[in-house]
Subunit: 164 residues, 2 copies
DNA sequence: AACTAAAATGTTATAGTATTACATTATCTC
DNA sequence: GAGATAATGTAATACTATAACATTTTAGTT
């Protein structure tokens, strides 16, 4: 699959994410049921984090029973398997770009188009570990959420400003 | 005021936080009303982030009308003035240790005692900025929440393990 | 195929977090 | 004190998440 802020064929991006998730679940010996696959595919319909209740509305359109526990249970499973992440500041969920490689997350989130991209950077890890050590704090996990404007929205804003 | 994970006289810590907030509000020309002061003091009653509804329950014990808008409006004011922070992963609020110096936050949060401490570190800023730049992302603000064990709780756990 | 244990899903109710909209009161400026 | 603005009061509702228990599906065994 591809990164949010790079042009790509999203149909293929989504399909490949689903295929990879299926394969990882097989490897782990856990079930990638119809419901789980459906929810996972819905999450991957775009690179915009989606809330549990938005998912719920979409599930209702399909063949599945749809109440909050349905979706929260499925989200819990996907989170446990490291297939998705939760963006705390948005109460929303997004597909993981490096599943199978359990990690703690850093996200860049565009305030304009609302898309989010997971970034991997060893320097962030190092700094967080170093800061924790300085405070004699035993770090277990962390999350970093970076807000701002993605390249496309910066360009749009500039164009907007120029033409206005 | 003092840091969460350092032994200190918390009564003094709270009092000085309130005094500093009052002085900053005067400087900004905004009103530090009875209600705002009361809520701010409640937030500073400990270094444990507190939720809006926990505050609400405590406000009810006092002289103020107490409904959700009361507390959320007050929290919004305190957030805008940079006097408190919101910990997204906890839906909870905590006093700011460097008010007046508008900044974006990094927190270390103990999973055991649930206290949180705001940390200031220029390296984190640098790395976040650098990562944003690498992705051609225009960073506006960020938040980092680090989970783990504070020094005291590490010591308690070790002692627990030894005696068990 | 039938049996069983475990996992997954269905269903109802409720808890916890936050906002909207409008009324009233307090404060500031003139 | 009148008028404008800011702050607070009040009622209703929207959004997010979990608990508890019933039923169905699946995988492994007989």
């Amino acid at each position: 699959m591809e990164k949010a802020f790079s042009h790509h064929n999203h149909q293929k991006c989504q399909t490949s994410a689903v295929a990879q998730a299926r394969s990882l679940c097989e490897k782990e010996g856990v079930r990638f049921t119809k419901l789980r696959e459906h929810v996972f595919a819905l999450i991957w319909q775009s690179h915009k984090p989606i809330t549990a209740y938005q998912l719920l509305d979409q599930i209702k359109d399909g063949d599945f029973s749809a109440t909050p526990p349905t979706v929260y249970r499925t989200l819990d499973f996907l989170l446990e398997q490291g297939l998705i992440h939760r963006i705390n500041s948005l109460n929303a969920f997004i597909g993981c770009c490096q599943p199978g490689n359990r990690h703690t997350g850093t996200f860049i989130i565009c305030e304009e188009c609302e898309q989010a991209e997971e970034v991997t950077n060893e320097d962030i890890n190092k700094v967080i570990k170093s800061v924790s050590a300085q405070h004699h704090f035993e770090m277990k996990r962390y999350v970093t959420e970076i807000y701002g404007l993605c390249p496309q929205c910066q360009a749009n804003a500039a164009h907007q400003g120029a033409s206005a």
